[in-house]
């Protein structure tokens, strides 16, 4: 199936660049230059080198034997949790900092929810010696104190977003407002496959290293590049976009996206955008969006701050719309249990975002000879407090 973005940034009905005129020159500058810059040999060499020596790529593709036996499928885990800083987020921030340098931008801003993208951004800014401001919802700063301090240790300034609901959506608003006020010397490193074109495609390409490696590694282990399933959790959707990217056109590979259902989809406390959302426009793109009948954006809920976003990347809205990907939703409770199960059976404590992908295994049915890959997008160190509070282990 065709999942290519068109010239105006659309994946089918979704995408585009719905931005105020104040941001037009910035977005246009990116759109005109990012393909040429990222296709340049010197860029590719530097990007690959940093992914290898700084991030620690390639990340392993690990056969989880005990879980395989339990779920009746040959289950591989793509170990993005072993990336430097603890999640896949850094693949994108490395790409964007190199891009920002080539665009001549001396300052970096970013938004963060749980703090993983903020830490990954602060890390690459420290690496390159550039000024870094991270916007984070005031409420999230309280919930994710250790990541706030990690960013500060790395030399970033963390600014509290005090507007609206004081979470990821508002941090994104504040970062966009900052960019409007500082359009010439600043690059905005968006952390997911959201935002105005070309961000969703650009971020997906930087993350596509995940599925590129999956293909090579599976070929080595199984003699074929394609599994039957690729499974990933989706908030904005950057780890899923990276895991799906090189499989979009491989129609025999079933793409499985797992959203956060919070306390349940019909409780008013959920973040399952494809179940609860309608087409709308937020943060520069047309996508599925959780909103009131009057078009006011509503506040999602999930135990996992990284899935707590009212929209979804336009590419995922398109994958949902066309049926190319199957969407599941998983409650807080199911995700936490899956996180504990992975810890006990494979010795890996996952991020709670990632635990959602594992919880979907219970909703799926497999043939024993089938192969599934779960993108293990992040490790659970940052979530210890949440595991402890939940307490059922």
């Amino acid at each position: 199936m065709n999942v290519k973005v068109d010239e105006r940034g659309y994946y089918g009905k979704f995408g585009g660049a719905f931005i105020p005129e104040m941001l037009y020159p910035n977005i246009e500058e990116l759109r005109e230059n990012y393909e040429a810059i990222t296709a340049d040999e010197a860029f590719k060499t530097q990007f690959d080198q940093l992914l290898k020596d700084f991030v620690g790529r390639p990340t392993p593709l690990y056969l989880a034997e005990r879980l395989s036996e339990k779920y009746g499928v040959k289950l591989y885990l793509k170990r993005e949790d072993l990336c430097h800083t603890g999640a896949h987020k850094i693949n994108n921030t490395i790409g964007q900092i190199l891009l920002a340098q080539r665009l001549g931008k001396q300052k970096i801003i970013a938004e963060t929810g749980a703090g993983q993208h903020g830490v990954a951004t602060a890390t690459v800014c420290a690496l390159m010696g550039v000024e870094c401001i991270i916007y984070m919802g005031a409420l999230d700063m309280e919930r994710q104190r250790p990541n706030v301090e990690r960013m500060r240790i790395l030399g970033a300034e963390v600014r509290a977003a005090e507007s609206g609901s004081k979470t990821l959506k508002d941090a994104t608003n504040e970062a966009m407002r900052h960019w409007i006020n500082h359009p010439t010397d600043t690059h905005y490193i968006i952390g997911s496959v959201v935002g105005p074109h070309p961000y969703p495609e650009m971020v997906a390409r930087f993350q596509s290293v995940i599925s590129a490696e999956m293909k090579e590694q599976l070929l080595e282990k199984e003699g074929k590049t394609n599994p039957d399933y690729v499974i990933a959790c989706v908030g904005g959707g950057s780890n899923a976009a990276g895991a799906f990217y090189h499989y979009y056109e491989e129609n025999a590979v079933q793409l499985v996206a797992v959203e956060a259902a919070g306390l349940g989809n019909h409780t008013g406390k959920s973040a399952a955008t494809t179940t609860l959302g309608k087409p709308g426009v937020l943060h520069g793109s047309k996508t599925l969006l959780m909103q009131t009948p009057d078009g006011q954006v509503t506040e999602p809920y999930s135990i996992s701050a990284g899935l707590d976003y009212p929209g979804i990347g336009p590419v995922h809205a398109h994958l949902h719309d066309t049926g190319r990907a199957t969407f599941y939703s998983v409650t807080d409770e199911e995700a936490m249990k899956a996180g504990i199960e992975l810890s006990r059976m494979e010795g890996i404590i996952p991020a709670i975002e990632t635990a959602h992908a594992f919880a979907a295994l219970k909703q799926m049915s497999f043939q024993p000879e089938q192969i599934a890959i779960i993108n293990l997008s992040g490790r659970g160190d940052k979530d210890l407090e949440t595991y402890i509070k939940w307490g059922k282990y």
């Binding site: 105006r8 585009g16 660049a17 719905f18 931005i19 105020p20 005129e21 104040m22 037009y24 020159p25 507007s163 609206g164 959506k169 608003n173 966009m176 407002r177 409007i180 006020n181 500082h182 359009p183 010439t184 309608k278 087409p279 709308g280 426009v281 937020l282 943060h283 520069g284 969006l289 909103q291 009948p293 009057d294 078009g295 006011q296 954006v297």
Partner: protein, 258 residues
Amino acid sequence: MNRITSLFERKAKNLLNVYFTAGYPDLHDTLPTMKALEASGVDLIEIGIPYSDPIADGPTIQESNGKALDNGMSLKFLFEQLAEMRKEVSLPVILMGYVNPIEQFGMEAFCQKCQEVGVDGVILPDLPMYEYLHGYQELFKRHGLLNIFLITPQTSDERIRLIDQASEGFIYMVSSASTTGVKTGISSDQEHYFERIAQMQLKNPCLIGFGISDFQSFQKACEHASGAIVGSAFIKAISAQGDVSAKVKAFVQKLLKN
């Protein structure tokens, strides 16, 4: 003829456009505020449709949006408030809003309602020119609505020409790289930018907005353009307790010193 077009035919200088958020500070202040603006000698009225995520706006207008939503304002209710406005208000009326609430209302239904109640123009900051030209222009024209575009100090001359071609009514000249109400006063850099635009001799008149808050900045703007737009400063002025028409009159008098 469209009220905006005929206004600019009658008056070419010192035009004052005042922005306020619908349903702010109280839900039922919309129409009284419009009447007071007309009585005070303002030339155009711009009404903000409140939205949960107004990314082009600074703190003052964000807060007024939040308060108006808490008051129960919605686009549907706004059209109810404006249903009879043409019996009492003759000034041109512009609706300013973000795309999402309008898309949920339905773009066609929105245009029909605008025409029905007598709205003359719209400002949709997050609807880019490309989307407008390819999706909405024909619809807006059919309902006699002028779409007002923004330009900024960073907008290239080439793009300003394109915007001038696509515009009717006037061009909204954003005075600095800024969200609303963040910077105040007019610097010499900004004056250079105003001059550059003046020398381009666009077919549309320009009104300068963002950072226009008092008599001095209004005068400065009027030296370089057909007039100015005041938003955040007005919102601050009407936030205090008190009679709507007295607050509006006091603010406008001070701004115009008349």
